[in-house]
């Protein structure tokens, strides 16, 4: 089963990282070599895929229009849902990328007695997806405290806002709760909905379990199994200043965390996680609906066999003549 298999694989990977952190001789591998390799794969892989997309042309202007077009001056056009200007496209894309506009439209179709089709509200997927992505971004930004020295005030401010409620010591981060909760919902949804279970692939569960593993190990390190954060920062700074320091005792859980992150980074270019870059390039969203206003050029527009008027007139000459229709050639 896809879900079980990917769970086992993620547990195995986490265990591998854990073991690697416990053996002094393996620490250079798990603390330095693997993260570097993963980062290089991530950067090159993502770039390669984006270049592949960029190299394929957009032969036709095919936006999905979700509102009134700009036509007659007295009909109000829908500037964001059916943009006809670059500004409108930027607005539409900002809504898509930042607020998941299209997913917000989600409904649940229900077939009731009658038969009667109903379209109910179904915003939970949107809520969970938005919560997960924004929480993940904030968590990543918070982690900059390990990668930057001196730590910029904005990163410190972010952390203090995030732990605003000052629950426990160290203060509980709201994003940790949101991240774990949203991931949990996304996983349960896949497991409990028969349709979602039917269409889910190994990779769908694998990505979720990887992220859950990352989140779980991170939360554990902060609130339960504490680690030496100074040593972690030493390692992180060493990596990003290209003068890696082989870490001493940091705590094996940290190596699980680091290894899962490395796997996630290296896995990204080969997986659906590339939607991160792809969402910007979708021709149904990032083009203005100016198809009749401005000519869109297709770089491979090759000539085709057309049944010309002359051929047509030749084929039907007698009938055209009999019907009294005008001819080019008598």
């Amino acid at each position: 089963m896809n879900a079980l298999g990917s769970l086992l694989l993620v547990l195995l990977l986490a265990g591998l990282g854990f073991a690697g952190g416990q053996v002094a001789g393996l620490r250079p591998l798990f603390g330095v070599v693997v993260p570097y390799a993963a980062f290089v794969i991530f950067l090159l892989g993502v770039s390669h895929r984006v270049v592949l997309w960029a190299r394929a042309p957009v032969p036709f202007r095919i936006p999905t229009t979700c509102g009134q077009q700009r036509s007659l001056s007295w009909i109000k056009p829908s500037r964001l849902e059916n943009p006809s200007s670059t500004l409108g496209v930027v607005g539409r894309m900002a809504l898509e990328v930042g607020l998941f506009r299209s997913l917000f439209r989600n409904t649940r179709t229900e077939l009731r007695e009658g038969p009667r089709l109903g379209y109910g509200e179904a915003k939970l997927l949107w809520v969970a997806a938005l919560a997960f992505h924004w929480a993940f971004l904030l968590v990543i930004l918070r982690h900059l405290r390990f990668f930057l020295e001196p730590v910029p005030a904005v990163v410190a401010a972010l952390a203090s806002v995030d732990s605003f409620f000052e629950i426990g010591t160290p203060g509980l981060y709201a994003t940790d709760i949101v991240l774990a909760g949203a991931l949990g919902y996304l996983l349960l949804r896949r497991l409990l909905s028969p349709q979602a279970r039917y269409l889910s692939l190994f990779g769908d569960y694998f990505a979720l379990f990887l992220l859950l593993g990352l989140a779980a190990s991170g939360i554990l390190m902060r609130y339960a199994v504490r680690i030496d954060t100074v040593a972690v920062k030493q390692l992180a700074l060493g990596l990003v200043t290209l003068s890696p320091v082989v870490p001493g005792e940091v705590g094996p859980l940290f190596f699980s965390h680091l290894f899962l992150l490395s796997v996630l980074g290296a896995y990204c270019p080969f997986s659906k996680l590339m939607h991160m870059g792809g969402v910007f390039l979708s021709p149904t969203r990032n083009l203005a609906n100016t198809s009749r206003m401005k000519r869109h050029v297709n770089p491979w527009n090759y000539p085709v066999d057309v049944h010309t008027y002359a051929q047509w007139e030749d084929a039907f000459r007698d009938k055209l003549k009999a019907a009294g229709l005008p001819l080019e050639k008598e």
Binding site: T64, T65, C66, Q69, S71, T109, F270, L320
Partner: protein
Amino acid sequence: MAEEVAKPEDLAQVDYRPPAKDWRDPAVEFRKGVFCYSAAPKHLQYLGLPNPRPWHPSDADWKLPADWKRIILEGMKERLDRFRSFRLFMDICVRCGACADKCHFYIGSGDPKNMPVMRAELMRSVYRRYFTPAGRILGPLAGGRELTEDVIKEWFYYFYQCTECRRCSVFCPFGIDTAEVTMMGRELLNLVGCNINWILEPVANCQRTGNHLGIQPHAFKDAIDFLVDELAEITGVRVEAPINRKGAEILYVIPSAETFGTPHYYTLLGTLLLFHAIGLDYTLSAYASEGGNFGLFTSHEMMKRLNAKIYAEARRLGVKWILGGECGHMWRVVHQYMDTMNGPADFLEEPVSPVTGTRFPHARSTKMVHICEFTADLIHNGRLRLDPRRNDHWVATFHDSCNPARSMGLIEEPRFILRSVCRRFHEMPENTIKERTFCCGSGAGLGTDENFEMRMRGGFPRANAVKHVRDRFGVNLVACVCAIDKATLPPLLEYWVPGMHVAGVHELLGNALVVEGENERSTDLRGEPTGAAGASAGPQPEGARE
């Protein structure tokens, strides 16, 4: 046909529980009523398409060319390099499933492979196996699937069970458009000769005669003459309907069904009456006698071949600009493809309404204006005398056709016209109109009788919304701006919501239009008593509420 088809109450028992069987198993059953028949070899031969042969989808042997696998994979490679949409949509789907219950075929059939995500996954699994490093190495673990003959059959089944309506793409967080995937799937199937007759016969007709129905020029002229006579009989006004006239200001391009089919025909009556009323200097063409384009349902190349006639004819006749009639997929082609494929139309002028002087800057490059845009401008400027009471026998609703709604944004223009010519107009529920409109279930070349059950299933959400407004408001007429709708909504509604009528927007306009020199009109363009003369005689259901 009727006795072979399940009853509506049985068809409405849709089981949405997916089967236990893994979806990677491609086996499909070609059951009577849910698929379209193969194209006759003579059409492929005429069009120069590969692998013409007699075959049938329910055959075990599809007589594919010996190197079919190479052809498909090379065809995929070529298209991945040519269409960013294709490559991107293969890569970025996260299978969130938001699209699943947005597809009319899934809602009507419960077949999980009709969920748009799965329809694309049928292609994606092959893409992963042959075009991505993970899929090549890890195979099924990375979501890859071997390309087998059974996969080709599965593709045929499901890519000819998608009407390219783009509803799923409205809801997709990445804008993944299943229509793009289906178009690629059909192009690939065409490379190995797996195509359907209901598409390729019209394509061959259109290539040869200029229109899908295969109407030859003299018959086209006869049909128009007949129409002019009939219009004179109903209204007492004899209109001019020139064909292939050089030097006209405007070329008017219609879906050819308007010359013969009902209720399309009444739309053309209304339109020609309108042109007469405003004294439009226009011509029809027997060469470019088709605005529709079943090439769109075949391949980009075929779409271009058929579409080329419109600009060529506009140039030959020396018109200033082009006006296009009520047709859904025609406007997908005109709006999003024509200029790119067969332009630039630099021999034409930026469209200007000769009646109101209104410029149409949104069409300044393509130089083609939708009849609803044109007419809405006329009404807005008070250039038409309208008597909406003549439509009082109708309680109308408006069915947005997929392509004008989701590939253009023609939403308010037809509504403005309808509200001006019809006193009783009610919208269907919000989730079934405008950009969320449901397909008739028979678009993209699937409107054939042998596919009847699947059409009824696919059209179920639309019909169900019509039923809602019939029961609530007493709606008895579905107005639309699409020739395929006009052909396929009547049987669909007869099946699910008996007693409903279907009309083009310009038919209702023609009813309401007061023309100089006309008789006292006792009937509408259909020859039925008009609302003004006999509101009580009209097909007004019980309990109609305003």
